[in-house]
C-alpha cells in the first residue's frame, strides 16, 4: 500500500461534477442557470460554432503537419474548443490575453496569422506575431510564468486608467490562461497574490483538461480547482468547459467585473484534452480509452451543432459551406506552412538585445566571416 496519499485517484474529484455552470447540455439542450444567462444573438451562436470548427481544423492540420515532419511539435487542442472560443468571444478590443501554448482557437479568433503560429512549432521563428494588433501575447512555455506577466500587465492597465471608468468603452482587462497542472506552480499562486493585493483587472482562466501530461488532476489538488481562488480572496467559479455558451457567459461576467474595478476572478473550465499532450506524447501509457470515450459524448462542437440544427439556426447547406471554408482554410494552412522560410543564424545576434553589445557584434562578425569563408569556396 502506498503511504503517500496514493488514493489520490479516488478523491472527491468527480468526473461529472454538478457544481458547474452549464447552459447547454451534452445533448444540446438549452438549460438555465440561476446566476448566469446568455444573451447573444443567433449570429453569435453561428460564429462561435464556426470558430470551433475552424479551430479544430487548424488543430488537425497542425497534427498532420507534425506527422509529416513539417513541424517539430504540435500541442493539440481537441476537446477544448468551447473553452477557448467561448472565452475569446467574451473579450473586447481593449482586452489582452496571455496564453499558454495551446490556445490556438483564441489566437485565430483574435486574428493571429496562422502561419506565424506554425513558425513557432516549425522552428523558423521563436513564435512572434502581431501582439499589439491582436492583444494576444506570445505563447508561454515555462508553465505558469505568463500568469505573472498577465497580472503585471493588468496593473499597467490600472495605472493607465483603464479600469472602472463610467464609460465602458474605456475599460479593459486581461485574460490569463493556465492549465490545471500549472495551478501547482509557485508563480501561478504568486500571480493570485499580486492580483488580489492590487485588485488588478485580471481573470485567470484555467482549462482543467484533467491532465498535465500523464498526471491526473488529483495529483495537483484534492478539491475542485475553482475553490483555490477564494483562499486568495477573489471569486472562483466552475463552468462546463465544453459548453461554449456557459463559458462565454461566465467569462463575460468575470471580465466585466474586472474592467469595472472589482478585481480578479478565477474560472475553472472543466474540460478534457481529447488528444495527446503533444505530438510527442502517448496517452495510452497512462489513461484508459474508456475515459476518452466518456468525454467524447460531451463533445463541445457536436452539442452546439445539435442545438443549432434542432432549433433551425443552421441547415445542411450552412454546414456544407462551413466544411468548404474549413477545407479551404486547411489548404491555406498547409500552404502557409510550406511557405515558411528558414531563418539565418545571423539574425540571432541582433535579436538578443535592443542595443547589441560590442562583444556580440564581434561574435557576429566572426560568424559572418566564417560563413563567407565557405562561400568563398574554402
Amino acid at each position: 500500500m502506498s503511504q503517500l496519499g496514493a488514493d489520490h485517484h479516488s478523491r472527491g474529484l468527480e468526473r461529472d461534477p454538478s457544481d458547474m455552470v452549464q447552459l447547454l447540455t451534452p445533448e444540446g439542450e438549452r438549460v438555465e442557470h440561476p446566476d448566469f444567462s446568455w444573451h447573444g444573438t443567433e449570429d453569435d451562436l453561428r460564429r462561435m460554432y464556426r470558430d470551433m470548427v475552424i479551430a479544430r481544423r487548424y488543430d488537425l492540420e497542425g497534427t498532420a503537419l507534425q506527422r509529416h515532419g513539417e513541424l517539430g511539435l504540435w500541442p493539440p487542442l481537441q476537446g477544448q474548443e468551447a473553452a477557448q472560443v467561448g472565452a475569446s468571444h467574451a473579450l473586447n478590443d481593449r482586452d489582452y490575453i496571455f496564453p499558454t501554448y495551446r490556445e490556438h482557437a483564441v489566437a485565430l479568433h483574435r486574428g493571429v496569422d496562422p502561419a506565424d503560429m506554425l513558425a513557432l512549432w516549425r522552428g523558423t521563428t521563436m513564435g512572434v506575431w502581431d501582439t499589439k494588433g491582436t492583444g494576444f501575447f506570445q505563447y508561454g512555455i515555462v508553465i505558469g510564468s505568463q500568469t505573472l506577466h498577465a497580472t503585471g500587465y493588468a496593473m499597467g492597465m490600472q495605472l493607465d486608467g483603464m479600469v472602472g471608468n463610467p464609460d465602458p468603452d474605456h475599460n479593459g482587462a486581461v485574460l490569463a490562461f493556465h492549465g490545471d497542472g500549472a495551478s501547482s506552480q509557485g508563480d501561478v499562486n504568486e500571480a493570485y497574490v499580486f492580483a488580489a493585493s492590487y485588485n488588478s483587472p485580471v481573470v485567470f482562466f484555467c482549462q482543467n483538461n484533467q491532465w498535465a501530461i500523464s498526471e491526473p488532476i488529483s495529483r495537483q489538488t484534492r478539491i475542485p480547482l475553482y475553490q483555490r481562488a477564494q483562499g486568495f480572496g477573489f471569486p472562483g467559479i466552475r463552468v462546463d468547459g465544453n459548453d461554449v455558451l456557459a463559458v462565454n457567459a461566465v467569462t463575460a461576467w468575470a471580465m466585466e467585473r474586472a474592467r469595472q474595478g472589482q478585481g480578479p476572478a478565477f474560472i475553472e473550465a472543466f474540460t478534457y484534452r481529447m488528444g495527446a499532450h503533444t505530438t510527442s506524447d502517448d496517452p495510452s501509457k497512462y489513461r484508459l480509452a474508456e475515459e476518452t470515450e466518456h468525454w467524447r459524448l460531451k463533445d463541445p462542437i457536436e452539442r452546439l451543432r445539435v442545438h443549432l440544427t434542432r432549433n433551425g439556426l443552421i441547415d445542411d447547406d450552412w454546414l456544407h459551406a462551413l466544411e468548404q471554408e474549413a477545407d479551404e482554410f486547411g489548404a491555406s494552412v498547409r500552404a502557409a506552412c510550406h511557405g515558411l522560410t528558414n531563418p539565418d543564424l545571423e539574425q540571432i545576434f541582433a535579436q538578443t538585445y535592443a542595443d547589441i553589445t560590442p562583444p556580440l557584434v564581434a561574435q557576429r562578425a566572426e560568424h559572418v566571416a566564417w560563413v563567407s569563408s565557405f562561400e568563398g569556396g574554402k
Binding site: S2, I141, S214, P343, I348, L360, H367
Partner: protein
C-alpha cells in the same frame, strides 16, 4: 557481463540498480511514474518499485527539489528529475540556496545526498527552453557537484555513483545522445565519478569537452586523423569539480587545446578551463586555447540550431587555427 544498450536504457538500468541496492533511494519528478518520464528514463520503475519510491510530483520544480531537501534531511536519497533543462530555473533558488548550502550551513551535520537529473542540450529540434545547457550556473555554485555522462557505460555507472555520493550532484543527461548505443559493462569497476577520461589519445591538440559534444569531438578527431592530425579528446565527465590533473597532463603533452561546449561562451565552462590552463601552463602552451561553443545569445529557433551548435566544420577550423600558431 557486457551488453549493448542506449544511453537511455543504461540510465534506466543504473537507476534500477540504485533502487535495488538501497531502500532509501527514491525517485521523484513530473510524469516519471506510469509514463516513465518524457524520455522514458524511469520506464517500468514505478511498476516495480511502487508509488512510494517512484513518485509523480505536482507540477512545481521548486516544490520537487524543496521537498527532496526534506526527504534527504530525513535520511532518504532522493533522485529528482527535471523534465527539461529550461525548467530547472523555477527550482534554482532551492538548488542554490538550500541544496548546495545545507552541508555548509550545518557544518556537515546534514549532508545532501541528492541527485538532480536534467536532460540537457540541443540538437533535437525543440522549442524554446528545451535545448539549453545550464551547467555553468551550477559549476559556479560551491556545494554542488556537476557531472554528465557521454555514453551508455558512463550513464549506467555514473548515475549509480551520483546516487551513492553524499554530496548533491547535478546530473546532466545529453538528451540528444539518449538513443546512442554503447557497450555497458555491468560488472567492471567504474572509474571515479569526478575523473576525466582521455577518450581518444593524440598528440596534436587536445579537445576538452563533455556530454553531447563528446561524440562530435570524436567525429572531428576521426576526420582529422584522415588528414594526419592526431587529436586528443578528453571527456571531462565532471564539470565540477574538474579533474585538472588529467586536463593539465594532456596539455603538457599536446601543448595546444580547444574547449568545446554547447552552452553560450561567456562565463561558460570553457572560460574556467582556459583560465586554469593559462594559470598553470603559461609557459607550456604553444598557442592560445580556443573555445568552440554556442554564441552569446539565447538558444535559437531550431531551424538554425545546427549552425548555432559547435559542428564538425567549426571544430576542424579551430584545430587548424590552433595548429597555425
Amino acid at each position: 557481463m557486457a551488453a549493448t544498450m542506449t544511453l537511455a536504457k543504461a540510465l534506466n538500468a543504473g537507476l534500477r540498480r540504485a533502487l535495488d541496492a538501497d531502500p532509501k533511494v527514491l525517485l521523484a519528478g513530473e510524469d516519471i511514474g506510469k509514463l516513465g518520464g518524457v524520455f522514458r528514463i524511469t520506464e517500468g520503475l514505478q511498476k516495480d518499485f511502487g508509488e512510494d519510491r517512484v513518485i509523480d510530483s505536482p507540477l512545481a520544480e521548486s516544490g520537487i527539489v524543496g521537498t527532496a531537501v526534506g526527504l534527504a534531511l530525513r535520511g532518504y536519497r532522493p533522485v529528482v528529475e527535471i523534465q527539461f533543462d529550461g525548467f530547472v530555473f523555477p527550482a534554482f533558488d532551492q538548488i542554490v540556496t538550500q541544496v548546495a548550502k545545507m552541508h555548509f550551513r550545518t557544518h556537515g551535520q546534514h549532508p545532501m545526498p541528492m541527485v538532480i537529473r536534467i536532460p540537457y542540450g540541443g540538437g533535437i529540434g525543440g522549442i524554446e527552453h528545451h535545448s539549453e545547457s545550464p551547467e555553468a550556473y551550477f559549476a559556479h555554485t560551491p556545494g554542488l557537484k556537476v557531472v554528465t555522462p557521454a555514453n551508455a557505460n558512463d550513464g549506467y555507472w555514473m548515475i549509480q555513483q551520483a546516487v551513492a555520493s553524499n554530496d548533491p550532484v547535478i546530473f546532466l543527461e545529453p538528451k540528444r545522445r539518449y538513443h546512442q548505443k554503447g557497450e555497458v559493462d555491468e560488472t567492471s569497476t567504474p572509474m571515479p565519478l569526478h575523473q576525466a577520461r582521455v577518450v581518444r589519445p593524440g598528440r596534436a591538440v587536445t579537445l576538452f569537452t563533455y556530454g553531447p559534444m563528446v561524440k562530435t569531438c570524436l567525429d572531428a578527431a576521426a576526420i582529422a586523423a584522415d588528414e594526419g592530425q592526431e587529436l586528443e579528446v578528453v571527456d571531462l565527465r565532471s564539470v565540477s569539480p574538474i579533474d585538472w590533473v588529467t586536463v593539465f597532463d594532456s596539455v603538457r603533452r599536446t601543448k595546444r587545446a580547444i574547449v568545446v561546449h554547447e552552452a553560450q561562451r561567456s562565463g561558460g565552462i570553457g572560460a574556467e578551463v582556459v583560465a586554469r590552463l593559462h594559470e598553470e601552463l603559461f609557459y607550456v602552451m604553444e598557442s592560445p586555447v580556443l573555445r568552440v561553443t554556442g554564441f552569446d545569445t539565447p538558444y535559437p529557433m531550431s531551424r538554425v540550431e545546427e549552425d548555432y551548435l559547435p559542428n564538425l566544420d567549426r571544430l576542424l577550423d579551430a584545430v587548424d587555427e590552433s595548429l597555425s600558431h
